[in-house]
């Protein structure tokens, strides 16, 4: 059984082909990191998986259902998306922003039910965002905004969580906090996770499977994170990689930067 499957995803916009024949399967409870250089089409792939872009070829299935057959709300009840950036131009409070994440379950006119409140409480508890609830989203720092976006995605209570570069442009402490949070979302909240990133160490920390995307095609087929070879990484990013283990035995990689 698969939670999410992509078959031959192709996307062309005008004369440009952004994605060509991308396929993979992700079982329930799995973690898939899509890595690759800038401009490889990772974020576009994520949008196709989320139903925000319609591929020009191929198909995405969520469980047993083809993605395009799901209504907007149905889709949002199964897939929650954490975009890299959101338009935080309207000064909603964080609490108001989180409440909007319950839209797929409430619709237009029904009030917050006990289930809605419980979902919001769980998301607030697991992200530790309670001190920020009365702040307006326009005043949040980059790290706090990312936390609010993830909290909203968790409050949406969709089993599948798609994240676009969740640690990009964050300082080390915030990056670590976000990674721990994603691990918790997977281990404790049973979320199936698809993560788009060019931070290979993020993928290694979370575990699961990695695929590499380059120029819109799969350049590195699905590989378990602990079997990821330096040569494959080097070929994907066009720069040699090195690795070492920290005192806990965890493997870390880095590009070899020569002067």
């Amino acid at each position: 059984m698969t939670m999410l499957s992509a078959r031959g995803i192709t996307l062309s916009i005008g004369a440009a082909t952004i994605l060509t024949d991308v396929s993979f399967d992700l079982p329930p409870g799995g973690i898939l990191s899509v890595i690759g250089p800038n401009g490889a089409g990772k974020s576009t792939l994520l949008k196709c998986l989320a139903g925000l872009l319609t591929p020009t070829g191929g198909a995405v299935r969520v469980g047993d259902s083809p993605l395009e057959t799901l209504s907007g709300r149905d889709r949002a009840r199964r897939i929650a998306v954490v975009p890299q950036e959101a338009l935080f131009t309207v000064p909603f409070t964080v609490a108001e922003f989180l409440e909007l994440a319950r839209y797929p379950h409430r619709g237009s006119f029904s009030p917050l039910t006990a289930a809605d409140r419980a979902a919001l409480d769980r998301a607030v508890a697991v992200t530790g965002i309670a001190p920020l609830l009365e702040r307006t989203v326009t005043t949040l720092s980059g790290g706090e905004k990312r936390l609010a976006l993830i909290a909203a995605a968790l409050a949406q209570e969709s089993p599948l969580l798609l994240l676009d570069e969740p640690t990009a442009a964050l300082d080390p402490a915030h990056r670590a906090a976000i990674l721990r949070l994603l691990k918790k979302a997977h281990d404790e909240l049973d979320r199936t996770i698809v993560l788009v990133t060019h931070e290979v160490n993020d993928a290694l920390f979370l575990g699961g499977t990695v695929i590499g995307l380059k120029k819109g095609r799969i350049a590195l087929p699905a590989t378990a994170t602990d079997e990821l070879e330096l040569a494959a990484l080097g070929a994907l990013f066009d720069i040699p990689f090195t690795h070492w283990h920290d005192e806990t035995g965890r493997r870390l990689v880095a590009p070899e930067v020569t002067p």
């Binding site: 949008k47 889709r75 131009t89 309207v90 000064p91 909603f92 909007l100 839209y103 409430r106």
Partner: protein
């Protein structure tokens, strides 16, 4: 003070203002004359002013949310340009009325709907249906129709040209129970748009975020544009283009009750209504027995007041 309490206060102030406004102005010693002036002139006029202001304000709020642009107003899609052209042609040619509706408002209503339809069609031509495309298309179409209106005015003789100019200034000076009745059906139309408060909240977060929450942003904006355009066309046809209320009232309401449309909708409704009643009362009494077009008052009072609010907020 909680935001709900503020909303209740706004509603109270608005209702008190509406009740008091008809009693402001020259009084007549004769009780019978006074009663007739109150009941057949000033009261329906205050009602018409409230309805027009409330509709314009709610349409402005919806447009500001859909376009995610603080400068959006009910006339952003070129509605006033189209309506003005329709009215100018009807005045010049003396077009007859239909179904008991006089020619000028009818032509203005049609002109408004034509301009919105043109903008809508233009926005569909572009690859990505984007709100920015619509915004720019609206500005362009508005200018185009303004050009045509000036041309009609230039071709018209003195008396027609004066009537066109008077219409273009936007006015409630002839508003009575007939105008109130013509405006009334558009109040539920625009209130229906404001009922989608969660959708408006989501859409103000951007198309991608709203789609990720399960909303169909294209379908929703089509519904909201259809409702608001109909309502704006209705108001413009009856009163002419009265500016500033639709831009200002949502901002004033936002400063008082915050950006969440659940409270913002009703707050904008009462603020817009009260604002136009206030401006119309000034228009009536400032140089009584003569009148100033209310559009002049909304701009002259509204502009500086709005600037004061903005600067006060940023301090």
């Amino acid at each position: 003070m909680s935001r709900t309490v503020r909303l209740i206060l706004i509603a109270l102030v608005a209702l008190i203002l509406c009740a008091v406004a008809p009693f402001i102005g020259p009084s007549f010693a004769d009780d019978e004359t006074m009663r007739r002036v109150l009941y057949t002139l000033r009261l329906p006029r205050a009602g018409a002013a409230f309805a027009a202001g409330a509709i314009l304000a709610l349409c402005g709020m919806v447009f500001q949310s859909l376009f995610r642009n603080d400068l959006a107003s009910p006339y952003t899609l070129g509605v006033s340009g189209g309506a003005s052209f329709g009215a100018a042609v009807a005045i010049l040619l003396g077009l007859p009325g239909l179904f008991g509706i006089p020619g000028v408002p009818l032509a203005a209503f049609c002109g408004a709907l034509v301009s919105v339809a043109v903008v809508w069609r233009l926005s569909l031509v572009s690859y990505r249906f984007g709100s920015q495309t619509m915004l720019l298309a609206g500005v362009a179409v508005g200018f185009f129709f303004s050009g045509l209106t000036v041309l009609v005015q230039y071709l018209a003789d003195y008396s027609h040209s004066y009537r066109i100019l008077h219409w273009l200034m936007g006015s409630l000076d002839s508003a009575g129970s007939g105008e109130l009745l013509k405006l009334a059906p558009f109040v539920p139309v625009v209130c229906l748009a404001a009922l989608f408060h969660r959708e408006l909240d989501l859409m103000s977060l951007g198309e991608e975020t709203s789609a990720a929450r399960g909303l169909d942003p294209k379908k929703m904006s089509l519904i909201l544009f259809a409702l608001t355009s109909l309502a704006v066309a209705g108001v413009v046809a009856v009163t002419g283009p009265i500016g500033f209320v639709g831009l200002m009232a949502p901002h004033i309401a936002r400063m008082l009750v915050g950006p969440s449309h659940r409270l913002l909708g009703p707050a904008t409704f009462f603020t817009g209504g009260a604002l136009l009643v206030l401006c119309d009362t000034c228009a009536r009494i400032l140089i009584a027995p003569a009148e100033i077009p209310v559009g002049v008052i909304t701009a002259l009072l509204g502009g500086p007041f709005f600037l004061w609010l903005l600067l006060r907020r940023d301090r």
